[in-house]
Symmetry: C2
Subunit: 444 residues, 2 copies
């Protein structure tokens, strides 16, 4: 059996490695259009700030290591066309500028996504960066080490935006954060994010919410941003406004894609065409709480799980991916921000019969030194009290604690069952009632 994988980062190389372990005699060929393989993209915000010094730390496995395992990896090879009838690919060798052809028995599409760029005047000026590939990270890291670069605008107050703002603040430079929505982290509810906005402002970040970039200006290099409200003087711009699936090469194929271009897959990560799978940032994912096959949640953790499950399926084990519920967390300076399941606005959009509670509780026994408040907002089904979502912010005990609630929600637990869970307790780590149980105790 010959398996071709298009894309050699998270989903693609997870699938390759797992498949080789499950069925050693499988012929596996990977075509990656970039130069880098299997890197930890989520570490890039820490690489550009020099928290992570060496680029090599981000590389999980090198090309040589894959070749040694019998996985035939070709970098600088861009697949430009898929003929699903003939099971044949057209591939551009970017180094030699030639076209080659190859055929597959099974195909895995794992091409990832690209940074969305703002389509505004001045967008081709120098000094406007994104942070999606390792190449982006290299060039951004270099620019940030330039001492003449002091005022840095970050466009977009989502995950990458806030992680990058942290880097800038810690480097002692000036961060200017511009977000189109009237709040940071727009997938969260506005009320739970309020303490983060306050904290960032206190840390010296200039925050502009509900403000839209209209143009970049400057002489060769960007030096001003014109928004709908003002003109800002800047030395560098980092756009972090989201990503779009890299699936343009499928345009002439019959492979079904979602509105944003993501390949639509079922719970076995199969596309609509036999023998073709897709996973990672180029594909949709099943959302358990929305009961939707067209959710787009481009995160490394899903890419890794999905790659592994494709390998199992190709190896003959029909395992399904139960889907996602929207769990995420991030560090932003001294704060931890976390969410799982549905926010209030997501529950509203689904037209569910739900209610919310919001509590503030200590992360640990109040008498143990250095306890910090944790803000918790729960979303739950009105009549059954089934838990639907949780959002948390605080300085301690937030990031890992969200996964307790993530597990409960995926188990279909209601508030009372959660309140009575036997959770470990000791003063340095938790009050006698865990903050999450303090919250579920409010649901009556």
């Amino acid at each position: 059996m010959k398996v071709i994988i298009i894309g050699g980062v998270a989903a693609g190389m997870s699938a390759a490695s797992k498949l080789k372990r499950l069925k050693e005699d499988t012929e596996i060929i990977v075509y990656e259009k970039g130069s880098d393989l299997s890197y930890g993209a989520c570490g890039m915000p820490y690489f550009i700030s020099d928290v992570i010094k060496e680029e090599a730390s981000l590389i999980a496995r090198t090309k040589d290591e894959f070749l040694k395992r019998g996985i035939n990896v070709h970098t600088q090879h861009e697949v430009i066309k898929v003929d699903t009838d003939q099971k044949q690919l057209s591939i551009k060798d970017l180094e030699n500028n030639t076209i080659i052809y190859d055929t597959y028995d099974k195909l895995i599409i794992a091409t990832g996504a690209s940074a969305i760029r703002l389509p505004v005047e001045g967008k081709t000026l120098k000094g406007i960066h994104t942070l999606k590939t390792l190449e982006d990270a290299r060039s951004l890291k270099q620019r940030l080490q330039d001492e003449t670069v002091q005022k840095i605008a970050v466009i977009g107050g989502g995950f990458i935006g806030l992680e990058v703002v942290e880097s800038i603040v810690e480097s002692g430079k000036k961060a200017i954060l511009i977000e189109r929505e009237p709040q940071l982290m727009p997938q969260y509810d506005a009320d739970i994010m309020a303490p983060i906005t306050t904290m960032l402002a206190r840390a010296g970040v200039e925050i502009h919410l509900g403000e839209t970039v209209k143009a970049y200006q400057g002489d060769e290099t960007v030096s001003r941003i014109k928004t709908d409200k003002r003109t800002l003087s800047v030395d560098l711009v980092i756009e972090a406004i989201g990503v779009k699936p890299d699936t343009g090469f499928l345009e002439d194929s019959d492979i079904k894609r979602h509105d944003n271009g993501a390949v639509i897959v079922d719970k076995q990560l199969r596309t609509n065409l036999e023998d073709i799978y897709a996973a990672g940032d180029c594909a949709t994912v099943y959302h358990r709480l929305k009961d939707s096959f067209t959710a787009y949640v481009p995160l490394g953790t899903h890419a890794n799980k999905a790659g592994r499950i494709i390998a199992e399926n190709i190896a003959g084990n029909p395992i399904t991916f139960p889907g996602v519920i929207g769990s995420n967390h991030l560090k932003c300076l001294q704060y931890e921000i976390a969410k799982t399941g549905l926010s209030e606005k997501e529950a509203e959009a689904l037209d569910l019969a739900f209610d919310t509670v919001m509590v503030k509780a200590a992360n640990q026994a109040g008498y143990y030194p250095d306890a910090k408040p944790v803000h918790i907002k729960l979303t739950f089904e009105r009549h059954t009290h089934r838990l639907l979502g949780c959002q948390m912010v605080g300085e301690k005990g937030v990031a890992l604690r969200i996964n307790i609630m993530a597990t409960a929600i995926q188990a279909g637990m209601d508030a009372q069952t959660f309140s009575n869970l036997d959770l470990a307790y000791a003063p340095p780590f938790s009050p006698v009632w865990d903050p999450l149980q303090v919250a579920t105790n409010q649901i009556k």
Copy 2:
């Protein structure tokens, strides 16, 4: 309705407060034989070491606060007899040395437990302490501040023992730890505890495992411990070998008790006699994984939950306590130690068909600075792969992470379902596969 509660610490005062909120017109009378009410006993190891400076920090609510809420609290009142036919109590007023009588409609037994003492020669010498009551803590704190007290023996390597050893090490004094079993934390498996023994020895703790205290020696005050293997010179002794339920006053009653004296209750915390409930360290608790009503797990977190559930039942809401699975964690110097569900030896004792896996995984992305290994041991049902237990030790990301697995076990989850859970991920907090999922991925 007149409710009498015997015992005014965790279970008793939780029940009193909750019942007053649910049914304000209930007459609630509390008899507590000690002087202190509603204190955070779990904070005492940190109080004696001066990590917690003020005793007042440990007091959740004062007598005056309870009185103001209409809860009639009597301290220094010891219930010495229960006449369950007449629904009458005999109570000794310890201040005035008189006997009074009172009658109840509903009775809650929440008398807690006392420290077990070693029944050895020299046990009445001065300088031998326990740490069960706030009075114990006061006198121990005073002794530890004495500069002539330098060599302190801790008898018992369980929770309290290790927390106290931490205190001693951090105060710069010499800790000598003596444990009868051949390992620390005997309810854990020996293999998972090995890194802790090594760490404590490196921190300068003199550890004697598998060694039994035979006698205390000294002139008025203890100065030597004779064990079955050697004689140790000491300035102070702290016994931390467990607790026994304070239920001697029930000896002549028909209230059913377990071998160790704990009052046996059902899932509604009812004893065998109508209108009589029991909770906290004086009662048994239902263990979900052992399917046993005679488990004895004296922990504050269960006492608080059980107290609240008794109040609901008395108020007419027949809520059940689903039971415990043995979740606990503790801090010991730079390490976190945690367990939920069944250890290997507990699964063996139950004669279950089970297997175990043991893994070492990083607590966070390997490339993010200061990642630490987490040692994880899982116990699971052999044929179904249902998760039965988890033990973890490590320097970071252990204490809160155990509650993710505690929730999964209580939901009846199997390994594959756990591996596919959507858990939040970001480099400072977790690798792309959570360490717990790295462990469940090993179950095939």
